[in-house]
């Protein structure tokens, strides 16, 4: 059963098929959501983290679906509230849900997000999380400060669920890497 198509602002239209398929993310709504940053990594927006899995405008309602990075991430609730506030500020009624429909993987982080992480001093996650079979993928990390590869994994667990701890033998300092998952 197909529902009727919708025109979104003046740029997109999509078909809703009994709720099973989600249309393309609404570009303007996404641009508003760029304002919402990870509370612990203020240079990283939710959009760049890849946690927005649905963004659509339906009349006066702006519908956003978010997927958690890690199931136990405590920042999710705060980010959800901020998304609601941003939508309200732009004059729409927010409908924000959290879902595992499209589970998050570190592969969903955008190149822009990875660059922002590095500039902030955090090593971005390696290219593909799917290749993670053994500890080896974790053992090579590039230092975000000096780009050196003379680094050592100190702990696959870190101060937050998403980070592992490394040491750079060139800088003689520790750094953290966003874990591939």
């Amino acid at each position: 059963m197909l529902d009727a198509g919708y025109w979104i602002l003046d740029t997109r239209y999509w078909m809703l098929d009994s709720g099973k398929s989600i249309g393309p993310l609404n570009a303007e709504l996404l641009s508003w959501l760029e304002e919402v940053k990870d509370p612990e990594i203020p240079v990283l927006s939710l959009v760049d983290m890849g946690v927005i899995t649905q963004a659509e405008v339906d009349g006066s309602v702006a519908r956003v679906e978010m997927t958690p990075t890690f199931v136990g991430c405590p920042a999710l609730e705060i980010m959800k509230q901020e998304v609601e506030q941003v939508i309200t500020r732009h004059g729409f009624t927010p409908e924000v849900t959290v879902s595992f429909r499209e589970p998050w993987s570190s592969d969903k982080m955008t190149e822009k997000g990875k660059a922002a992480l590095k500039k902030f001093g955090l090593a971005p996650p390696p290219a593909s999380a799917q290749v993670f079979h053994d500890l080896e993928i974790l053992e090579s990390a590039t230092c975000p400060r000096c780009n050196g590869t003379n680094t050592e994994l100190k702990n696959p667990f870190g101060p937050t669920l998403c980070r592992a701890i490394y040491y750079c033998h060139t800088c003689h300092e520790a750094f953290e890497q966003f874990k591939p998952v």
């Binding site: 595992f100 589970p103 053994d134």
Partner: protein, 251 residues
């Protein structure tokens, strides 16, 4: 499909993860090495988060709010296996328990990826990636310490022997077992237990530890039907202490 069967499996998983997460969090500040302190703290947080996601699924099926369910039930209303409620004791005990539980947990979530109950299958797809770090940690330490010194091997062996009956309690059969299998929620405890024994033995074969003879163990049952050891209620009392001061508070 009866919701009772589905709720039962969700409750037992959520309760396992909440209680175990709390126990593991007791290592925070007391780990033998900083890295291990952080490891157990991080894994505990993962598990508690996963329990919350499961309580959320239960809430969607008509159960109360996750916080209410987590913090206001008493021991005889919990469905966790007794393995996870035992106090921590020394690090060898916790490492062996972590190995026994997480091996089963990973296999359980893997099974659930094929579940006919979509929200559970979706959650399983997410949890699987996170759990790889847990099993990696457990296997690394069991292999390392299980082949290191007389003391490390001796301690691990003793913990393994002692925990074996409790571990088997993870697979205590549900009254809804046949229904859950018929409805393709998952393949059932018997299949899970068989897979688990294989996985445990595979890792132990790489050490100087001896695998327990599972056939002669008497499983420590009762957890799944609310029959717990004297250790669960004090854990729940402590865990819910702050919440119970003002259950209606906005956090």
């Amino acid at each position: 499909m009866s919701n009772l069967a589905l709720k039962e499996i969700l409750y037992k998983m959520a309760d396992d993860l909440l209680v175990f997460g709390h126990r593991n969090s007791e290592w925070t500040g007391f780990g033998p090495l900083l890295e291990e302190d952080i490891a157990f703290s991080s894994m505990a947080q993962d598990k508690i988060g996963q329990s919350q996601a499961l309580y959320q699924l239960l809430h969607q099926l008509g159960e109360q709010e996750p916080d209410t369910v987590a913090f206001t039930r008493n021991a005889n209303q919990f469905h966790n296996c007794t393995l996870v409620e035992l106090p921590n004791r020394e690090y060898d005990f916790s490492l062996v328990r972590h190995f026994l539980f997480d091996t089963a947990d990973a296999l359980r979530w893997q099974m659930l990826m094929q579940s006919s109950y979509t929200p559970l299958a979706q959650l399983a797809a997410k949890v699987r990636g996170e759990l790889r770090y847990h099993t990696l940690h457990a296997n690394t330490w069991i292999k390392q310490l299980g082949s290191a010194t007389e003391e490390s091997i001796g301690r691990l062996q003793q913990s393994l022997n002692e925990l074996a009956p409790y571990a088997l309690g993870m697979f205590e059969r549900s009254p809804y077992e046949d229904q859950l299998i018929a409805d393709q929620i998952y393949e059932g405890e018997k299949a899970l237990e068989a897979r688990w024994q294989q996985a445990i033995e595979k890792t132990l074969a790489q050490t100087q530890l001896t695998s327990p003879d599972w056939k002669i163990q008497t499983p420590h049952l009762g957890g799944r039907v609310g029959e717990h050891t004297e250790h669960l209620q004090p854990l729940l009392d402590e865990m819910s202490e702050v919440f119970r001061i003002d259950p209606g508070a906005e956090w």
